[in-house]
Amino acid sequence: MDEYEQFKTTYFAECAELLGDVEVQLSALSTGSEDPEVLHAIFRAVHSIKAGAGAFKYTQLAAFSHEFEALLDRMRDGRIPVTETGVSLLFRASDILSAMVESAESKTELTGNFGSQILDEISIMVNGKSSAPAASKETVNVATEDTSESEAVTVYLIDFAPKAELFKHANEPLLIVRELKTLGELSATPILNQLPPLGKMDGEEAYIAWQFKLTSKARLDEVEEVFEFVTEDCSLEITSEANLDATEMEEDIPVSEIGNPASPANTPPAAKGPVTAAKVTSIRVDLDRIDRLVNMVGELVITQSMLSQQTSDLPAEQFPSMVRGLEELALHTRELQESVMAIRMQPVKSVFSRMPRLVRELSAKLDKKVNLVTIGENTEVDKTVIEEISDPITHMIRNSLDHGLEGTEERLKLGKPEAGNVTISAEHRGGRIVITISDDGRGINRKAVLMRARERGLISETHTPSDDEIDNMIFAPGFSTAEKVTDVSGRGVGMDVVRRNIQALGGRVSIQSNPGKGSRFTMTLPLTLAVMDGMIVQAAGDKYVIPIPNIVESLRPPKSSLKQLPTGQSLVSIRGSYIPLCFLHRIFHLGGAITDPAEALVVLVESEEFGTTGIVVDELIGQQQVVIKSLESNYKSVAGISAATILGNGKVAPILDIEAIYRISQQDLRNSPLPTASDGLSGVLQDSLARTNPQLATPSIG
């Protein structure tokens, strides 16, 4: 496998990092950390080392890491308690692992029974006895693939009925038949009784089922693996009819394959230190320096887009090298910016890892048993975002534990498991990070929320809000449904603050609740607070930016699709549903804009707060990445605007806060028929940004 030589370098670099991780996590473990993530992390590292070792055929390393992994697996799910002896074994096992990686890298041979003592100890822990054969049986899976020869022949009866989804996922039953054939002798009987007459057949449906009889030496899991991708897209039943040769059951796998771990040799492992120390794969840099870099790149992006705008009508045939140079500058600027942004990306692990402790403390205080599961802690997000999400997450977890989860007794009475489950997960979706916090508690008491909302005058007596609206009222200012005040989440103070803080970051938060089953907070945030993709639109001669993630589509509505309610609310009918319109010129009191929506453009935007709404603008200018400049620090906060940016022509353009825009538009409808015009907002902004930040508001060239 020397053709893979070039990839081995990457593998060993990765190993060095992983072994470094293992060291760090082990020392956390030895100092009494109870964070379940520690064992998970060690497990993952060993697992990755094993997988690579398998790929590159380092059999001794693969076999050892397999056993090591088995031990870790049992420790992480609690089958083997984490004792002092256990931790000490982990330490020694990781030394052996380091030594094996090193020998694989330097291509030096280790004795066949190197590490066998540790293997023996692992085996005692895992199997309760020191006999290695028991362990070796499992080892077969990774170390060798051709052992099926020695196994018994089984007859499998397989009933397989594909569903339509199977085809939608581009799976193909005939390929499955072909793969089954590779396992042994196969006879297939199609079952056609579901087949409708030709005229009634739907090309997208699945009508044919199959019955297979497979005579094979393959194990059940190998047969099941054939159907790996389609298990949810078919009904499948596999029964093994008979073991034709049951005597083979006791057969032992030759242990010599994996470096003879059964040998009782007691050679002590060579006292090699971990290989990690020599390899430095990261450096620490002062955050200020990075911020400076990010700022400068931001300025560079603006300068570059200014240049390209000013030279856009340069005749290419006259200045070929100039035009090419500008194109390359654009490309390199973009790449530079992405690289710089990547420097600041960090896994959310740093925030997530604080949560187990919080949950432990809270559950003790509240006398509730809680399991915390974290998913996707390696999801990366800009450092500035990380700093900001810790508080909201803490708050939502407190809320879930205090208000969401029932007490132990109540849970048992309801037939729920004694320990409540809280899951916190992170993932990337559509250029944003989505963090969810869910619990299996009682869900939101909608009656109580509605009553409280009415009491506080948050909604009128006559209005009957939807379940979803009720649930999300917990984000309304000064809301508390807890019957009594606790010292954990106080008076429910905070959910409104949580929402406000998240919105200030350009994020959104909402809650879905299922009474009796639990609730789930969903928080989405931009990956970075420094740049974003924006759609530039124009209204009354001024340019505005609408964040691309909010945009569903834009259209010029035909007159027939426009309606107006008696309240003054304009609607546009799109594919059978009516969508409310907000007029940008009304919101910002702009004179001279197109007022008839049939003449203007409608940009459909979406938000968790209000669903879909249409923003009426004069024109779409185009899509571009914009550098975000804070309004608060340069001017003051303005309703309807989340931040500002500087366009290619040096002018400031406000970035719209679509949730606020929608709220303002609804308020305007309630308050007055039509607002009076006042001075344009954009002008005020230009001045103030130019004053406070002269290097930003570069005057337009030419």
Binding site: E3, Y4, Q6, F7, T10, R44, H47, S48, A51, G52, G54, A55, E145, F167, K168, H169, A170, N171, E172, L175, R178, E179, V226, E228, F229, E232, E338, I375, G376, T379, S425, E427, H428, R429, G430, G431
Partner: protein, 121 residues
């Protein structure tokens, strides 16, 4: 043989590894570094298989699967997503978006070939 495979991954090492393994087995391989570039690289030409990583800048793997499935030209093209160990949620997300199957990273070359043959013959 000569089947055409599009390999999409932002890590060059991973692309190299996939590409090298598949080319060795007689496949023709196109490469792209993220979902948007993958759509660019495809144009509208047909391929026999798409293998894509999930976490990528600009357009991630899930986005790519969705985009491809919406295009009638690729509605029945097998798509494999590369996932990491123990990440069942990603597998499911991929499936829901319309992926055909998955390959767990890090994978052995033999395993890759086996799965590729499994879905595109």
């Amino acid at each position: 043989m000569g089947k055409k495979v599009l390999a999409v991954d932002d890590s060059k090492t991973m692309r190299d590894m996939v590409s090298f393994t598949l080319k060795g087995a007689g496949y023709e391989v196109l490469e792209a570094a993220d979902g948007l570039l993958a759509l660019d690289a495809l144009g509208n030409q047909s391929v026999d298989l798409v293998i894509t990583d999930i976490n990528m800048p600009n357009m991630d793997g899930i986005g790519l699967v969705k985009a491809l499935r919406q295009n009638p030209a690729y509605s029945s093209t097998p798509i494999l997503v590369l996932t990491t160990e123990s990440d069942d949620s990603k597998k499911n997300e991929g499936r829901e978006a319309g992926a055909t199957g998955w390959i767990v990273k890090p994978f052995e070359p033999e395993k890759l070939l086996k799965v590729v043959q499994k879905v595109c013959g």
